[in-house]
Symmetry: C2
Subunit: 445 residues, 2 copies
């Protein structure tokens, strides 16, 4: 499905590998992936993308055409090209399961592997974890606001390329969306697919009702009619007028979709027209520029809308289109390491995250500490890959979705707001602070 | 390179096709792609993505596994599945060349094809044109601000998936960037690639200078040393101290990179250290959270920086992560059509865009009119595909890059600002307004 090639990486990974190979710097390295800080409008994150990372690590290797191309650049020595040709990832991975709620400074994935292996995979690993985590975290906001509504990913066209479209469908489903309009995502990930008609279908007809009739006959089990091409309420009345004729042919009108204008006002009027016309069972689906903020407003207005198509704002995470995340070296050859660049310092060593819950079952505080230090709470990182092979069984997407639902149900009420959320308590343990201090003292410049 | 599958589309395209096929609605349809309005911070757009659209249209077809999967959904009739199995795009395409500067309401691409063909390709066509146009338009802002600096795309890790990384590298190069760090983009598109070392390389050593020496020996033609892992100025002095030893081995230090802190202040100090140490030729490259706004500030401060890595903000178009664009039916079966949904009305019919220039050669006003209506100026849309085959020769990426450079050089001064740009004059011709009026009068509801 996803074309993972070893050269889908930053050039510096390869020039560094040239140095590592030449100097035999191939001892075990530990890197961790974490989010440094949350975007302004976010109170929590939802981990996603691990399944694609594991598939990538199992499969990554250089194809002959990639080796030939690298050779042609003149940048790499023959001995290095030989090493790249034989490259495989043989390391271990510890990670939080997909769907885990997490917070800044908490590693959600740790790689332990010979240095060149752990280094080369950095670019694609971030690329995969960053995007799905971004989208799952955005999607969860809508899910928590409208838990009883059908939410459908409509974002393929403005997603940033094909892979973004597919993975946004996956990540939003993981976070609790009901499905996607993107057909290939349905095929690859077994996600329910939704979709009926666009304005163009109606526009090709000189009579709107004829468009509705022809669509209904062609798709008798999936009659959701788009009613805002010209005049929304007029079209709703046409739908009512057609219902008997279609019913006589065994065709039931499932619902209507509204894609423009004031959605709450139109939905109220359309609901009345449908109800008075005997179509109480027909649902109203809305789309068009919706995000969690508009969704919250529509819910607050009690707009009679049963489902929402959420597209551009979801697939681009429009109000926060990236996360400040990093994949950093924490240990090499048995010695803890730490980056100290201004504003970018990291906590060193192999870490574990422990979570505690209050008496009502809500998350109440996490501790980040060095691996194997004593700590209360539930450890969140587990080993998911050993020696380059995924530890089985890994959860299915549906299982991860259930797990995410459980996680979100234990999120403290205050963190569910769309803005101005308090900081969740994340404690850096005394052991980890002591380790950082000792690393700083030992670093020879 | 790019895995284009026919099922990379929205479900409603397929349910509409079921209606079109069943009712034999297969006459010629005309769809156009355009941007409705610019994001707040943009004054112009740069068209990009046409090459990928043409490749998609030439290749798109349903694979046997896709047909099997569709059959398994139970949504499609056998006759429709047969039609999908035989699906090919046989239409014509008119488009503005890649690199053309354009404005709202101006179609940059027109499809003329039997209705089901023109309909099915909508989702992927928007997906391709939207993203590259978004990125080329973002990249052009940095290019105009820093025409004499080396600008390199550093965004792969936070691009939205693999395709976004590859196409962002392409679109930014088209707009005038000097290259990319993404190796596969270099391989696929023949774009110059850049990259040397990350902090992790330095961190694995107990002595920073040893890391520099080992890197230089391993990559003797590409010695750009990252100097901000611990203390930027101290590292710059180490670089000076090493220069003679390396020089004696025939290795020249090309430059240093700074990735954190106050870039202007560090660059001034580092420049002084390098110059006093006899390394006047060594360049300073900067990266870390840079976008066109920070770039403008650094240029205004006359920071002695020779090149910039621009990553996350470029590849996600962070300040405007999507465009309000559409692909709309403008004509079917010889009759002009128009969508009139609230706030989303479009201009009907097949259109052409004419551009006029002032005496100094700057763009001074465009006219959007019906195709073949008399108009002054240079027509911007040309036929690029006929009967499903690309009209040759199409420009190479390098030729499109030169063309974009020429286009940007003719952009009025006022539009080059990073914010508060005036509206560029785009006139809707009397002929087009008359056509819209007559379409409205003829539409029977």
């Amino acid at each position: 499905m996803i074309a993972d090639r070893a050269l889908l990486t930053d050039l510096y990974q390869l020039t560094m590998l040239q140095g590592y190979y030449e100097q035999n710097r191939e001892e075990l390295a530990v890197f961790e992936f974490f989010v440094r800080k949350l975007p302004k409008s976010r109170g929590y994150m939802v981990a996603a993308g691990l399944a694609q990372v594991l598939a990538y690590l199992e499969e990554v290797q250089f194809s002959p055409d990639e080796i030939d191309w690298l050779a042609g650049t003149g940048r790499f020595k023959p001995a290095v090209l030989d090493r790249l040709e034989a490259f495989r990832f043989t390391g271990d991975v510890h990670a939080m399961p997909e769907g885990t709620v997490f917070f800044p400074h908490e590693p959600i994935l740790r790689i332990t592997a010979p240095l060149p292996e752990a280094q080369l995979v950095e670019s694609r690993l971030i690329n995969l974890l960053h995007f799905q985590t971004l989208i799952a975290s955005k999607a969860a906001r809508s899910v928590l606001i409208a838990p009883d509504k059908l939410l459908v990913d409509f974002g393929m066209r403005r997603a940033h390329g094909s892979e973004a479209a597919l993975l946004a469908a996956r990540a939003s489903y993981l976070a609790g969306f009901g499905g996607t309009a993107t057909v290939n995502a349905g095929m690859y990930f077994d996600i329910p697919i939704y979709g009926t008609m666009a304005h163009s279908f109606v526009q090709t007809y000189s009579r709107e009702s004829q468009a509705f009739i022809d669509f209904a006959k062609a798709n008798p089990d999936n009659v959701v009619l788009l009613i805002d091409t010209y005049d929304t309420e007029a079209a709703a009345r046409k739908v009512v007028d057609l219902a008997d004729t279609l019913h006589a042919q065994g065709i039931k009108i499932k619902g209507v979709r509204i894609d423009s204008g004031n959605l709450a006002e139109h939905a109220i009027k359309v609901r009345r027209i449908l109800d008075q016309g005997g179509l109480q069972q027909a649902t109203i689906f809305a789309s068009g520029g919706i995000d969690e903020y508009k969704l919250a407003a529509l819910i607050a207005q009690q707009a009679p809308i049963d489902g929402f198509g959420i597209g551009t704002h979801l697939d681009t995470s429009a109000d926060a289109p990236y996360l400040d995340c990093a994949y950093k070296l924490q240990e090499y050859a048995g010695i803890a390491r730490r980056k100290r660049s201004e504003g970018k310092a990291t906590w060193p060593g192999r870490k574990q995250v422990y979570r505690n819950y209050d008496d009502s079952g809500f998350m109440c505080g996490d501790t980040v500490t060095v691996e194997n230090a004593p700590c209360t709470g539930k450890p969140l990182l587990q080993r998911v890959m050993q020696g380059g092979r995924t530890v089985l069984p890994q959860p299915s997407l549906m299982e991860s979705r259930e797990y995410a639902k459980g996680q979100l149900s234990r999120l403290p009420e205050a963190l569910r707001a769309l803005s101005d959320t308090p900081d969740y308590p994340v404690i850096i343990s005394a052991e980890l602070q002591a380790l950082a201090k000792s690393v700083d003292e030992q670093t020879l410049l």
